[in-house]
């Protein structure tokens, strides 16, 4: 069974601080996606990484896919209260199914 573990589970930081969220697995994924979810809503896709070692930037967010395609990280620079939410990584294997991580709840305090 493919599993994705995210760490930390919960993060509370002050506005302006930097943070990194990790997504780890013992399985290889063909691609990995990061979603952000607001309370009471469905997740929204932020980025998809496909190539081992790939780095993608989305404004203050930097996403990296591990060389072996088993892990990924999300780094946020100068966090803002609008970044608050649940961050989910999801790995795509050989089937139609996405395997979701356990989630990281981020709270950015003004």
């Amino acid at each position: 069974t493919q599993l994705l573990e995210q760490s930390p589970q919960f993060l509370s930081i002050q506005e302006g601080e930097n943070l990194t969220v990790y997504c780890n697995s013992s399985s290889v994924f063909s691609s990995l996606q990061w979603y952000r979810q607001e309370p009471g809503e469905g997740p929204v896709l932020l980025v998809t990484v496909v190539t081992g070692g790939e780095v993608k930037k989305l404004k203050r967010l930097t996403f990296q896919f591990g060389d072996a395609r088993k892990d990924s990280s999300l780094h946020i620079t100068a966090a803002q209260p609008g970044d608050t939410g649940l961050y989910l990584c999801a790995g795509a294997g050989s089937s139609y199914k996405l395997i979701f991580g356990s989630g990281t709840r981020l709270l950015v305090r003004p």
Partner: protein
């Protein structure tokens, strides 16, 4: 662009009652469709997925069932709800195999 309609947004049901959650998709055809359940503030557990009309794959043994009577309609059902069925249910569509579009979810409380 694609839109996922899910209703109701909130549902409170007694133990032992039936359940029917409906999901419809607009803006695409022949999508892969999924039902996920999410515990509060946690990751998503895949319950069912469908690659076409009448084709349902179940991921975990449970008290729930799914049906796909039309190309863009996906229904989650139960004959008798259990307390453990409480959770946030999300319908998702994967039209091109690249990413998931999610509905706004249904918060189910079984009392």
């Amino acid at each position: 662009s694609q839109t996922i309609h899910q209703w109701p947004a909130t549902l409170v049901q007694p133990v032992g009652s039936p359940l029917s959650l409906e999901c419809t998709v607009e803006g695409t055809s022949n999508p892969n469709l999924y039902w996920y359940r999410q515990a509060a503030g946690r990751g998503l557990q895949l319950l069912f997925y469908s690659v076409g009309i009448g084709q349902i794959s179940s991921e975990v043994p449970q008290n729930l069932s799914a049906s796909r009577p039309q190309d863009r309609q996906f229904i989650l059902s139960s004959k008798k709800l259990l307390l453990s069925d409480s959770g946030f249910y999300l319908c998702a569509s994967d039209p091109g195999g690249e990413k998931l579009f999610f509905g706004s979810g249904t918060q189910l409380s079984v009392l």
